[in-house]
Symmetry: D2
Subunit: 362 residues, 4 copies
């Protein structure tokens, strides 16, 4: 096995294109080198652990230490969609539903994965994608008797799909309201690191919230793949392994997801540091765009920028940058999303600002 | 990010144990170094491809070349269970079922993942886990009208769960029979490399079979994670991406699965060579066990050995070796499974043979 | 079997109460005597028809004659919810969804029965519960690629949940728009008779609409139980019997549903005549309420009246009348629904008007 | 509404054929006149009961009295398949399965309705369709951990699909074994009346069994439609109404099912008397067939006869009699099923015996 074949550069040039930079959410971004090196380093260890992969336990201990958790169970899951659907379906009886902002990821970008488990999403119109006690109450008022789906779980996203961040106080209020109304709470933390960094709190502060389940995003914060689901409520622990396997979310070699989280939460605090970096660049990007006079969506913060541009400008930008067309505004204009990440540099941002500035002047 | 934290050896010693060797199927085995190095090498490339990840296409071209395929579509999937359930549910209308040996993986070891999609498994009793036209005919005879589930797809496994290998001729016969009876065929290739190597055929020979879908196993053959699903039948191509996302099988960073398969099917033929190695060691293991006088299940071949041992011996072996307790034979004895892989060495096998020989003498 | 036991009046008085009249939708209403007599008359016929129940065919012929249909298939279904869920799930692939007004019956009053089949409801905010091409277009704009549920079927209700009636022209426009956009159309006709009567058109006029499926409501128009699903689109005919059985909608003795529809559509036009009666009384009720000065929801027509009343009045009315509390308006007031049916008399309506008039004066 | 239209005899003659008699299970049989008359008699009562239909409660009280139940809840369901699927899915978490004889109705004749709810059937090969503690133990042995479906409920059928009857003692033994192994028990009583009559026990004797749920068959014993599900285990009561509605099993006018059961269990004991009649004729039929020398399946009893005949005879018989082709024996012969019911007469049986006798002589 000595040969060391390489990608065919010619082939790649035929089928893709190099861009100056991509502000896509996650797809073209790679994993942080410290993560991949850690996998490589421990790849050939030869341990056996009949009950629980040792690395799983190592990752679990570091996560629990970082978030100040004592009794939680940690489950490693291959991606965000399957984490949401496995967790939520395990929290709902078949006739129960989840209260969700209409803009929520589970309601729009998961091809009906939750409905595929037979569960209903009870959607409410929430500005910024942020739920409030009033919106939850609105959802509850639709329930009269067995002819209606019973609302049972509240779906929160931190950072939300539209880039907004709940304050700790907002989350505490919602969680307390949910408990008062016999509702569970689940938090989709695909971008949790950015929210924690944005608020200048610690993972331990966040861990103190009385959520029933939440997940710690890895993929969107420099991981190769995998998310860490934290099950805090005891009643959901016993059966979770069965739910995970039944959904097809059980990875054969758990070691590789465990090691990523063991590395994220090692002493150098990699996980939070990567988010701090992404947020800094996000701020630099938004500031720069404002100076140029571009109209930004004010709620989007952390590592996000949402802006409305005329399609003719977007067409030109896309030749050199990756970006997401988010929502049609009218026949001429579109709302787009730009996301900074662990790999974004100041030069990437400044170059983009210069290019868009030039473009809009003409 | 210069620090380079390590696993806590003390912690690991507390929670797991080192064994002499593990003959488990996949769980404690790691990825082949060439695979991990390939990921590391291409980790920081910065391409954008709006339609299809460039690495996905690279892997696809190499797979198609190796298997002699021209029109097939390739989909990378995170693990075997989710590949089976996504593929089969996409091949079946809700009221249709899949004909499966009672011992099949989907019928026993996937926690009802296929039924979770609302599809029924029509099981038949097949010795060695191998279907035949007669057994398929038996399943068909249960269908009379709309009160019965309509049999529509045949589920094959190569190597089967019990270590048997279909000959090319057997597969051709079944596929022809299926086509004559308006049935689709799907092949679970978790251990396909071992079957191809065992028969001394090439991937191209296998690729010539007129299956509707099959998957090329990566995880059990030295991959880190991921399987490559090959969709040959045109009618299943259009919607497959939707089925994959809906099941939660869409990985954010496709690049890392694609690269593994690009490396497996690079010019040095790594994929098949790893299987050859595993099979050689499997043969060495079975030969050695026979010499000692252990009763082997005759159908198990390739990299597998199935044997019946008294529980008192198994208890002792398990202190130093990983193995799978497969099936209770009676109160005293159990059938166990031993699997060799890319990382098994002659010394591992010989050491095990020596230890079991000593054990049985006493 | 000569004895002729009766209900225990004492028991009934203990557990229920007689009201002056009930304006509930269907629950306390009985079946029209002509329907029950027809069942009794043909109860002991002893025919055998291996393929299709003869009465099923008789009902089918009469329905097709009344609605001017030539190629449609008719399926008798036990109730409205199971008709909706069976029909819609048969029209949708697993990853496809149905466009539905947020107020639609399937979205609110069926305990997630459609989601239970794994299908998603794509809801849009429609005033009066009436869809329009603009609203359908809004739903379509949410679809970009395989990450979204694919909109495929449009769910219409005639009369809508809030008592509004689509004009023939509105339906034609929607159906044409749907066809232009590769969408199927399904119409929930629980109260179809009232809509046809209200518009002064014939069943044949309605039958001329190019819907893919619709159902002819029996239960809410004087039937004992059962709805007649009309499958017009050929592509949905082949598999429907399998979908029906799989959902549990296959009744053992089809004869009894068939006979009800054979009677509804016999020469005396019973089905439409019962609706005419219900609508007349509905008009009398709305006119009377307006004279008293009660605030009516203007869109509600046919046999419906929706009105907002203070809770203190509703509490008193409910002691003597059946009615549905529809929607909380504020802490003091509630929107209620009153429905007239085949069994409502002028005296019932006039008595209610007198009572509510007295109540509001005090 | 004075006209009194009739079926078109000409039409009926065109599309069906009169037979001498039909020994089908239920399809061409009608409802017992006392049942239909009871519906007619109470059709125009005008009660309102906001919580529970008064007739539902009347039926419930009579059922509970007959079966000696004190705490059970009764739910009326439209047919047997939907009763099985609603009840079993409410007794199983998504990852749990039901232990079922391979020949069970849910495993063969319900088009995968249970799998449609995402639940798996764990089938075991049971002669006569009768489970035993040994067979249950076999199913349990397949469960090791979260990779397997967890067995949780035992599915019993009384009378079984192949006409066998469990003794009270056999049922008691199985129920006790199930409780010892943390399993629930559910009994499909489509033909329960015949089993009770066959054993010469009372409904009260049967009601004393410690089942978690069972249903009392109406349709196959002279009812028009509807089965009565008895929920004995408290833990399944709270949510059952939601499960029923979600499956589409909630009939708008509950009154008509309630009244059938109120009549079945009125003082004259109609329900059991109809079964006694069916069993008597079944015995007469089996005795007569044996005298002729036909090979009967010995386990089939009560109102059933199963026999193997050459296809050439079956073809001839079918011109004058309804019967069910049950199972292909070989290219020449088929196992058929004959069922007697409340409406079968001695003359029907004797005529059939004479005709088959003549046929076999030639």
């Amino acid at each position: 096995m000595g040969s060391n074949p390489t990608l065919s550069a010619t082939l790649l040039d035929d089928i893709i294109y190099r861009v100056k930079y991509s502000f896509f959410d996650i797809h073209p971004e790679s994993a942080h080198p410290a993560i991949v090196e850690y996998l490589l380093k421990h790849n050939l260890d030869h341990y056996v652990s009949p009950e629980k992969d040792a690395y799983a336990q190592l990752g679990e201990e570091r996560i629990k230490k970082a978030f100040g958790l004592t009794r939680a169970d940690i489950y490693y899951m291959p991606n965000g969609t399957i984490t949401n659907v496995t967790a939520l379906s395990s929290m709902l009886k078949p006739f129960e539903g989840v209260i969700c902002p209409a803009s929520g990821h589970i309601n729009n970008y998961e091809t009906g994965a939750l409905e595929a488990t037979g569960r209903k999403i009870i959607s409410v119109n929430a500005s910024n994608g942020k739920l409030t006690p009033e919106l939850i109450d609105e959802a509850l008022s639709g329930y009269k008797d067995h002819n209606n789906v019973t609302p049972r779980t509240v779906y929160l996203t931190q950072v939300t799909e539209t880039g907004a961040v709940y304050s700790q106080n907002e989350l505490e209020t919602i969680i307390a309201y949910a408990k008062d109304h016999n509702l569970y709470t689940y938090l989709d933390g695909a971008r949790l690191a950015m929210a924690i960094s944005h608020q200048n709190i610690t993972p331990e502060d966040f861990g103190g919230l009385d959520l029933d389940m939440f997940y710690i995003g890895g993929t969107k914060n420099g991981g190769m793949y995998g998310e860490a689901l934290v099950v805090k409520n005891d009643e959901f622990k016993r059966d979770f392994a069965s739910y995970r396997k039944r959904q097809g979310a059980d990875m054969g070699k758990q070691r590789f997801m465990s090691l990523q989280f063991a590395r994220f939460f090692d002493e150098d605090g990699l996980w939070l540091r990567l988010a701090e970096h992404a947020n800094e660049l996000g701020l630099r990007l938004r500031d720069g765009l404002e100076k140029i006079g571009v109209r930004l969506m004010p709620e989007a913060t952390a590592n996000h920028a949402f802006l409305i541009l005329e399609n003719k400008y977007i067409d030109k930008l896309e030749k050199e940058y990756g970006l997401s067309r988010w929502e049609k505004i009218n026949d001429k204009s579109t709302k787009i999303r730009l996301v900074c990440g662990w790999s974004t540099t100041k030069a990437d941002v400044d170059g983009f600002l210069e290019d868009i500035s030039m473009l809009l002047k003409n």
